[in-house]
Amino acid sequence: MLLIPCPYCGPRPELEFRNAGHAHIARATAADDQGWAETLFYRDNPKGVIAERWRHFSGCGRFFNALRDTVSDGFLASYRVGEPRPAAPPPIPEGEAPRIGAGEEPRP
């Protein structure tokens, strides 16, 4: 069971989350049929670092994005919706036991 870094609540057990697939997929409603099919269905599905969406479903309820290595399953970063994908940061160390509510303070 993963320990997932919620940017609001801190690292929390996977049981509280829902994965929501790839992040940063522009909803290109103006595209032609093939372009729209790519929006809907085509995915990078990378073996390596993925930018993906999670929702802290049984927690703060927020969707957020995270970078994770799909080979090691280690998280590299988590960030809020709307923020740009961070450049490859160092991995978040394993075994950081959570203090509940240890996420960032809310920003204005």
Partner: protein, 416 residues
């Protein structure tokens, strides 16, 4: 040497010294007429039928690891063809037809065991969906019958059909020709038969690049065992399809997830058939060796790690214990995962790609083992002739553009 009882007896007198290699271990040639990437059941079957039915002998199957080591070697081996849509019915029933005498055709006992595959309905919606399957299948000539809870219990006596359980069983469908087969033997049987026909099976040969000529068509492969020239490539790499196709610049509607399975310690026969319950997520059969083979769920996130979370297994086992209360004291012997490539409509993609000479057979997700012979058979046609076999014609990539999905998931939410 043919596999037969007589030869087995003969060999047992000489300490089995006389058995040859089941497949050759050749060095890669510089060029092949066609190369199949992925020596899983599907890739090996493809090569076998290309050689056996299309006369192509100068072909190779390459695999980054050991043949049969992908999902073919780690699946719960459920075989059935009682799918809903006509396209799927045709595909899976074609496979089921081929399973019938596959052992004889390959001269390898793949232990196809049509012991019956039962799918449980736990609520009225299930009943409606499953009966729709029964009707559709009857029209298609596919055996699939409706059982009352009592009949289900008779067919699988360890099933808990009490009305007092949380989700009582309201009935079940039964496909009697459904069952299981020995996963490894399928890969090995195809490998041996293909090798005998001249197909080179190149293991520990990872494809690292797909080269293309000026026209954009495939011209060869870069592999860890050197470059291989070829103008026709069939990609059958299951969970790794996106990675391989990425080498040719092709993006696909696929996501790869870990799917887990587990076995119990072996016990004497207690489970005569295959039982699937999609509503409470439990799939179980008993192997010939005696272990209960149990299919768990996929993890929720994309991963290439062939492991997953414990909660997936615990969730499966609570459902298994609910359905089969006698197994609660049995023990999990081993659990593992495979990486399944999942399409948006849970149906495979079999056909051409935007790159000339490059063909793909993927997206079997959690349920492609049963299709192995059929998938190989039609894909061999596709790669050998360049044109689809009528059965795989609907399974194009283009359906995601047009919206003509073959959505087994939406229609029934039944996996495996």
């Amino acid at each position: 040497m043919r596999f037969s009882f007589a030869n087995l007896v003969r060999q047992s007198f000489s300490g089995h010294q006389g058995w040859p290699e089941q497949w050759r271990d050749p060095e890669p040639k510089a060029a092949y007429d066609a190369v199949i990437i992925g020596a899983g059941g599907h890739g090996l079957a493809t090569a076998y039928y290309m050689a056996a039915e299309h006369g192509l002998r100068n072909i190779a199957v390459v695999d980054k690891g050991w043949l049969g080591g992908g999902n073919t070697g780690r699946n719960t081996t459920i075989i059935r063809s009682n799918y809903l849509w006509e396209e799927s019915e045709a595909l899976y029933d074609h496979a089921l037809d081929l399973w019938q005498d596959l052992s004889q055709v390959l001269n390898y006992n793949v232990m196809y065991s049509p012991r019956g595959c039962m799918m449980l309905a736990h609520n009225i919606h299930d009943v409606q969906v499953f009966k729709r399957h029964v009707h559709a299948n009857r029209l298609a000539g596919i055996d699939n019958e409706w059982l009352t809870p009592e009949e289900a219990k008779e067919f699988c006596p360890i099933l808990n059909t009490s009305e007092r359980v949380r989700y009582p069983i309201l009935g079940a469908t039964l496909q009697r020709r459904g069952g299981v087969a020995r996963h490894d033997a399928v890969a090995w049987g195809y490998a041996r038969a293909a090798s005998a026909l001249g197909v080179d099976i190149l293991q520990r040969c990872e494809v690292k690049g797909i080269t293309r000529d000026a026209s954009g068509a495939v011209s060869g492969l870069d592999t860890t065992r050197g470059p291989i020239a070829t103008r026709r490539v069939g990609v059958v790499a299951a969970g790794n399809t996106s990675v391989v196709m990425g080498m040719a610049g092709v993006r696909l509607p696929l996501e790869s997830y870990p799917l887990q399975a587990l076995v119990s310690e072996p016990v004497k026969p207690m489970m005569p058939c295959v039982v699937m319950s999609n509503t409470i997520h439990a799939y179980m059969s008993q192997s010939d060796k005696g272990e209960l083979v149990i299919g768990a769920g996929t993890d929720s996130y994309i991963s290439y790690s062939q492991t997953g979370g414990l909660h997936i297994a615990t969730h499966t086992l609570d459902a298994i214990c609910e359905l089969f209360p006698a197994v609660r004291r049995l023990r999990m012997l081993r659990s593992w995962g495979g990486i399944v490539d999942v399409t948006p409509d849970r149906s495979p993609i079999i056909g051409k790609t935007p790159v000339p000479g490059l063909f793909v057979n993927c997206g079997w997700g959690t349920g492609g083992f049963k299709a192995t012979p059929g998938s190989g058979h039609v894909f061999a046609h596709q790669v050998a002739t360049g044109e689809p076999h009528p059965i795989n014609a609907p399974f194009t990539l283009d359906r995601f553009r047009t919206g003509r999905l073959i959505d087994e998931a939406a229609a029934a939410a039944v996996a495996h």
